[in-house]
């Protein structure tokens, strides 16, 4: 068939298809409803025309025009839309805890990397009041001591920060803590080194602070303050670490896949962990800013802290099990 006859016969289909694509490519809110009807069928026919035009060596301009239509159609046909809210809820209720349980090994490994240094140096700092200076500078130790001095009106905050409102601390915790979580994950791509370093380092600092303050006798300011948000915050950092370790695993030991393919697969499996941990850190920031800072009897703080630890463990180990045989 001659090119001109070919064009005349199919031009109206191409125009319709192009108009439909124009409509579908507009932002969702300004799109008229029900624009997708007939898209797959038109797409297949245009694919066919494109192949014919190439095979018959029609003019490059026509081939190019059809190629562009095919490319746009391909993008529209294979895009994913809608149901954001529902997907988020399903993720919190099922997706996140299930994804974490599938990667339990990485979680336990990350937990060990964090907890063992913390316990060791914590005990050390309780026995030796100078050991804390081996992980922190003098100024930092002083600042940290002032934060939890029994006469500090606002435990958990430095004296300059004390007057800032709970709200501004909420913003600070989000900016700082979730950022740390995301970076812990990202640095895993450097063969896991960055993640391991972050986990061990955070374990050392947190363990040293806890041990040192307990040794100073600041029990009644430090432990009630951290009890509320510790469950969410520490667990979330360890989960981010587990996700980072998965990236490291893909780089170091990709198994039967090419390294790039392994990285892609592991990153896809690790993403739910990071996002879930981000949500946990968001909640932790809220608790740390508004609940932990409240002056209440220690017994109440401890009770709530224990309750939250129990809920976090139950949620991560049980949520999303059952029904369809999911584990």
């Amino acid at each position: 068939m001659r090119q001109e006859a070919f064009e005349q016969r199919h031009q109206s289909l191409w125009d319709t298809f192009a108009r439909q694509l124009d409509e579908l490519e507009r932002p969702r809110l300004r799109r008229r409803p029900e624009q997708g009807a007939g898209l797959p069928e038109r797409y297949r026919r245009v694919c066919n025309h494109y192949a014919l035009a190439r095979g018959r060596r029609y003019s490059p301009a026509l081939v190019e025009q059809l190629h562009r239509l095919v490319l746009r159609g391909h993008q529209q046909l294979y895009t994913r839309r809608g149901a954001w809210m529902w997907r988020l809820l399903a993720f919190i209720a099922n997706g996140f805890p299930r994804a974490l349980r599938r990667q339990a090994g990485y979680f336990w490994f990350a937990l060990a990397l964090f907890l063992l240094p913390a316990l060791l140096i914590g005990v050390g700092c309780m026995l030796d009041e100078h050991l804390v200076y081996s992980v922190m500078g003098e100024a930092e130790v002083e600042q940290m001591e002032s934060m939890y001095r029994p006469d500090n009106e606002y435990p958990g905050r430095t004296l300059e920060r004390g007057a800032e409102s709970d709200f501004s601390m909420f913003g600070f915790y989000i900016f700082n803590n979730i950022g740390i979580g995301f970076r812990t994950f990202a640095m895993g791509v450097l063969a896991g080194v960055g993640t391991v370093f972050t986990l061990v380092y955070n374990g050392l600092v947190i363990g040293a602070v806890a041990g040192h303050l307990s040794q100073l006798g600041y029990h009644d300011t430090f432990w009630p303050f951290v009890s509320g948000h510790s469950s969410l915050e520490l667990t979330a950092i360890v989960i981010c670490g587990a996700a980072g370790l998965m990236l490291g695993r893909a780089v170091i030991a990709p198994g039967r896949h090419a390294r790039a393919d392994a990285l892609r697969r592991y990153a896809g499996a690790a993403l739910p962990l990071v996002m879930g941990a981000g949500l946990m850190l968001l909640l932790a920031a809220f608790i740390e800013a508004f609940w932990s800072a409240m002056v209440l009897p220690s017994s109440v703080k401890y009770a709530v802290g224990l309750l939250l630890w129990g809920l976090v463990i139950l949620y991560l180990s049980l949520a999303g099990r059952g029904g369809d045989g999911a584990r």
Binding site: R68, S168, R264
Partner: protein, 231 residues
């Protein structure tokens, strides 16, 4: 259809389930750095705007400011990538982010590639990312490798050139399909060639047309006319 030999250029092809081969033109480090610089300027303006607005609202203002900083740092590219495939900087440079199978970028891949900026940026100014782009086959930084994404040039709307008006003339010799295509392409490109160059090219075929100067150009246009329209 046989697979064309792999060429040392920046065009990658991907075959869709429909059996159609898509061509993707990869974007290199320099154009991506330009796009990043444009985005940086936009983000700095947004930071300034946020500070300007929220500085007057006390504690709540500080909270909103810090939350905005957090969102701008991590999710500025994600929002634009999932809504239009490209940040304003990339859009300005004519780039778009897609999956390596040609489909538009989805939320999970966009999150992965932008979270991994934390590693790509190390030790400073995307040194790790640049190294990864230079080493990998498809100019992918670490985030692109992990997310399975490519940064490619946006296809520009091709302009259909009208064939120059000419009397339809049957070519005097039998032409192969490739030769026919060359003739049609010549006719389509004529509008963008200077008259002198048209003549120069057309006279290469003097052995077939037997004409010179503008007459040779007209003759080739006539052949193209015949090849596309017949008669």
């Amino acid at each position: 259809m046989s697979t064309p030999p792999a060429l040392a250029d920046t065009i990658r092809t991907y075959e869709t389930p429909e059996g159609v081969r898509l061509r993707l033109r990869l974007a290199g480090p320099v154009v991506r750095a330009c796009a990043w610089a444009i985005d940086l300027v936009i983000r700095l303006l947004l930071y300034a705007l946020v500070v300007g607005i929220f500085a007057f609202f006390g504690g709540v203002g500080t909270a909103l400011m810090l939350i905005s900083f957090f969102l701008l740092e991590w999710f500025y590219p994600v929002v634009f990538e999932i809504s239009g495939g490209a940040t304003p900087g990339k859009r300005a440079m004519g780039l778009v982010v897609i999956h390596d199978n040609g489909t538009p970028i989805a939320l999970p891949s966009s999150l992965i590639r932008n979270l991994l900026r934390g590693a790509d940026f190390l030790p400073l100014l995307y040194a790790a990312g640049l190294l990864s782009m230079l080493v990998s086959r498809d100019f992918q930084r670490l985030g692109d490798l992990a997310a399975g994404t490519l940064v490619v040039y946006r296809e520009r709307e091709p302009e259909r050139a009208e064939l120059p008006r000419a009397v339809s003339v049957r070519p005097p010799v039998a032409l192969s399909v490739g030769e026919q295509r060359e003739l049609i392409e010549f006719a389509e490109r004529s509008a963008r060639l200077s008259p002198g160059r048209q003549v120069e090219l057309a006279e290469l075929l003097r052995g077939i047309t037997g004409k010179q100067g503008d007459a040779a150009v007209c003759e080739l246009h006539s052949y193209a006319q015949w090849l596309t329209r017949g008669r």
